[in-house]
C-alpha cells in the first residue's frame, strides 16, 4: 500500500492593516478585481472584510509557494485560488477552491489533499498549506 507523501508546503503572513488601507481606498478597486473573484469579493465584504481579504490573499500566496510557482513564472493567476468562507459571521470555516492553472497543477501532480490552517492573530493573518500526494 502506498503511503501518503508530503510534496509541498507554503506559508504566508500579512499585516491586516495593509488590507484595511486598500479596502478604504477606491483607487484599489481594480487591484481587488485583479486578485479576488466576484464570489470572494461578495462573501468577504459581508463580514470582517479586512480580515477575510487578508486571509484570502495569504491563501493564494501560500498555495503558490506550496506549488513552487507564482504569477511571475507560470501561467497561474491570483483568481486560480479562491478562499471561500462557508459560514456567515465566522472566519475559521473556509475552503480552498482551485481553478485554471492551479487546478491543472493539482491534477498533474496527483495531489490528493490540501491541508491548510488559517489564523488571525492580533494584526496579522497567517495561512499555511501542506500538499499531500
Amino acid at each position: 500500500m502506498k503511503e501518503n507523501k508530503i510534496i509541498g508546503c507554503g506559508i504566508d503572513i500579512e499585516n491586516i492593516k495593509r488590507f484595511e488601507r486598500i479596502l478604504g481606498n477606491q483607487d484599489y478597486e481594480s487591484f481587488m478585481r485583479d486578485v479576488f473573484t466576484e464570489r470572494e469579493i461578495r462573501i468577504n465584504s459581508a463580514f470582517r472584510a479586512k480580515e477575510r481579504f487578508t486571509l484570502g490573499f495569504c491563501a493564494k500566496e501560500a498555495l503558490f509557494k506550496s506549488f513552487g510557482i507564482s504569477w511571475v513564472n507560470s501561467p497561474i493567476t491570483w483568481k486560480d485560488v479562491e478562499l471561500i468562507f462557508t459560514a456567515d459571521k465566522m472566519l475559521n470555516q473556509n475552503r480552498v477552491i482551485l481553478h485554471g492553472f492551479a487546478l491543472k497543477y493539482f491534477l498533474k501532480e496527483k495531489i490528493k489533499q490540501i491541508l491548510f490552517e488559517s489564523i488571525i492573530e492580533e494584526n496579522y493573518a497567517r495561512f499555511s498549506v501542506i500538499l499531500v500526494r
Binding site: 483607487d27 504569477w71 493567476t77
Partner: protein
C-alpha cells in the same frame, strides 16, 4: 498608453523610491537601482501590486496582471532599477509588453 517624457520618468523614479522607502521602512538614501527588493529590503508581491495600482490610476493605464506576468517570466524584475524600467515600459506599451 502615455508618452514617456523626462517629466514622467522623473515622477516614476521618485514615486518608486518613496514607495519602497515608506513601505519597507528604510531610509530613502539607502536605496539605489541595484537594491534587491525581496532580499535587501524585504519587499513582497503585495507591494508590487499596490505600486502597480498607483501607476494605473495616475496614467490611466490599461494593463493586465497576466501581461506583466508574461513579461516578467522572460525579464526577471528583482531590483528597484528593473521595477523602474518595467513601469516605464508599461506606461509606454501597456498590454503589448506581453509580446516583448
Amino acid at each position: 498608453m502615455a508618452e514617456v517624457t523626462n517629466q514622467v520618468k522623473k515622477e516614476v523614479v521618485e514615486t518608486i523610491y518613496n514607495f519602497f522607502a515608506e513601505e519597507c521602512e528604510v531610509p530613502r538614501s539607502t536605496l539605489n537601482e541595484n537594491t534587491n527588493i525581496m532580499e535587501d529590503i524585504e519587499g513582497d508581491s503585495l507591494m508590487f501590486m499596490e505600486l502597480l495600482e498607483i501607476f494605473k490610476k495616475k496614467y490611466q493605464l490599461n494593463i493586465d496582471i497576466k501581461s506583466i506576468g508574461k513579461y516578467v517570466l522572460r525579464h526577471p524584475t528583482d531590483t528597484i532599477g528593473k521595477v523602474i524600467d518595467l513601469t516605464l515600459l508599461i506606461i509606454e506599451k501597456e498590454n503589448k509588453i506581453a509580446e516583448m
